[in-house]
């Protein structure tokens, strides 16, 4: 079964096309990387799929049904820079926000919601930071808060926008462990990823994107020099899985 299916997606900013004729499907239970150069429209793709940006055209289905937030089967982790970290709130409170969709109108978070949030904090090694104002957390800790928040959304398909950017090694490990655990539970995780070195190691499915889909399939079939060059164009510093760095032009 497909976790995500996108047909004929077009997105334009100021009448300039950013994404054109995007057609793709992502298998259920995969860990998928979305890879492409800066300005390829990776974040835009996620935002357009989830309805945060206006689509010029396109049909989106999640697990075989047209996408609607009301189905509560989608979790989202935004880029860390997209929120105001000076907001008067603490770590536990941010995680609780992931429960708001389940809580519904006019109600307060229940004891169970709070328990779930605390469990998620604990799971990401952040149990001691529940009361900390979020500006006073390190970049890696902030990212873990976002992941904990996605976890309590209890979704089937997760979209994450550059979760590995600017995090320490410990956080990177915590994140990848969590992604694998989600996969193990049959969830699908779709990640905008910038680090070509770790694609083969972390992800079993890869989508190469540059304003349209260049390639989409199992990582070992898609993550090839030819296709990467086609995606990045021009010069590309290519890191082979063994670690020797070659420059292709």
């Amino acid at each position: 079964m497909e976790a995500l299916n996108v047909k004929d997606l077009q997105v334009a900013y100021d009448r300039k096309a950013v994404l054109e004729q995007v057609e793709l499907s992502i298998p259920k239970g995969s860990l998928t990387a979305i890879v492409g150069p800066n300005g390829a429209g990776k974040s835009t793709l996620i935002k357009a799929i989830l309805g945060m940006l206006k689509r010029s055209s396109g049909q989106i289905s999640i697990l075989g049904k047209p996408y609607s937030p009301k189905n509560r089967n989608v979790g989202y982790v935004p880029q860390r820079g997209s929120v105001d970290w000076d907001f008067p709130t603490n770590a536990l409170d941010v995680i609780l926000m992931g429960r708001y969709g389940h809580i519904g109108w006019f109600k307060r978070p229940s004891k169970q919601d709070i328990m779930l949030a605390k469990e998620a904090l604990h799971k990401l090694g952040m149990a001691d930071y529940a009361d900390r104002q979020i500006r006073q957390l390190s970049g890696g800790q902030q990212q873990r808060i976002f992941l904990a928040r996605a976890l309590v959304q209890d979704a089937e398909v997760y979209f994450m926008d550059e979760p590995f950017v600017g995090v320490d090694a410990k956080t990177e490990k915590a994140i990848i462990d969590l992604l694998r655990e989600l996969k193990h539970k049959g969830k699908t995780v779709i990640v905008v990823h910038h680090d070509l070195q770790t694609v083969l190691e972390y992800f079993d499915h890869t989508l190469l994107l540059n304003r349209t889909v260049i390639a989409n399939g199992p990582t070992e079939q898609v993550f090839t020099k030819d296709l990467l060059q086609k995606t990045y164009g021009g010069t590309l510093a290519f890191f082979s899985p063994t670690g020797d760095k070659r420059v292709m032009s």
Binding site: D14, L50, G51, P69, G75, P78, D84, P88, T89, Y100
Partner: protein, 288 residues
């Protein structure tokens, strides 16, 4: 109640309702919108007066809310079409305010509506314009502010989660199915009605200070939005009370003194706040 009592109560209600609503403008970083709405609300009041031919509170509230929302919408549309956000705010509200001023000078010269009053308010006149509710004679402006404060409290209590989430992370709110635009306009509606409720008392210019200053003080005091809302009400009421007695002492404008008191309270909080005050930051810098 005494003349003084009514003025203090009215001033406190201005401080509390503006302080509460203003918190959300601060955490959303859109305090400039308070400036815009508080000015264009004048156009709403004049239009309501011209249509209904009465200065009844209800018409004014409806007129002001409609124009407040139109202002927000116009600013957003200009911004979306490529004008910078601060420029769109400046263009829209000055135009609306100017139309309001022209309409007053053309059609409403003889009534209790004049430009100076609209800009500065005159809280000292409020206790003389009364009606009787449940056998109690209360000033009209005070009654309206009481209703607005209760309404704002109710809306914030009911939609607290949604207001908080859309302020902090609108993108997540979209994926959770929260109607982000609707909540935004709900908040702008609240700003409009608090602005119009406070109009008689403090006028279009000083209502901005009541919307922005108490919340800014509260922002320096706490890390919890709910606590910030409470502090903001306290700071709003405190500026009202200190302002009133300051005005008596100096024999000066009451609304001016209220804003000045707010400014002084802000300076004090900025220096001495146990949480984010300058002194505290200086001390932690020294020890670390």
């Amino acid at each position: 109640m005494t003349y003084e009592g009514w003025i203090l109560l009215t001033a406190c209600l201005v401080g509390i309702s503006c302080g509460m609503v203003g918190c959300f403008l601060i955490v959303r970083r859109m305090t400039m919108l308070a400036d815009a709405i508080s000015h264009s609300v004048l156009l709403g009041i004049v239009l309501a007066f011209l249509v209904a031919n009465s200065l009844n509170g209800i018409y004014m509230l409806i007129g002001a809310t409609v124009i407040g929302l139109v202002t927000t919408f116009a600013i957003q549309s200009l911004h979306n079409s490529g004008v910078q956000e601060d420029a769109s705010i400046g263009i829209v509200f000055t135009t609306f305010f100017a139309i309001g001023v022209i309409l007053i000078s053309l059609f409403a010269r003889d009534v209790h509506l004049d430009v100076e009053h609209a800009l500065m308010g005159e809280i000292a006149f409020i206790p003389w314009n009364t009606y009787t509710v449940f056998g109690i004679e209360i000033p009209k402006a005070t009654g309206m502010l009481l209703c607005i404060s209760l309404f704002a409290t109710l809306v914030i209590l009911l939609f607290y989660k949604e207001l908080k989430l859309t302020s902090f992370d609108a993108a997540l709110a979209v994926t959770l199915g929260v109607p982000v635009a609707l909540i935004h306009y709900l908040l702008m509606g609240l700003v409009s009605i608090t602005a119009v409720g406070s109009f008689d008392a403090v006028g279009a210019v000083l209502v901005v200070s009541m919307l922005v200053v108490p919340g800014s003080c509260a922002y320096l005091m706490t890390d919890r939005l709910s606590v910030m809302l409470l502090y903001s009400c306290l700071f709003g009421a405190a500026s009202a009370i200190f302002g009133y007695y300051g005005a008596l002492l100096l024999d000066a404008s009451i609304s001016g003194s209220m804003s000045a008191a707010g400014g002084i309270l802000f300076l004090l909080t900025w220096f001495f706040s146990p949480r984010y005050g300058l002194l505290r930051r200086y001390r932690t810098m020294k020890t670390s």
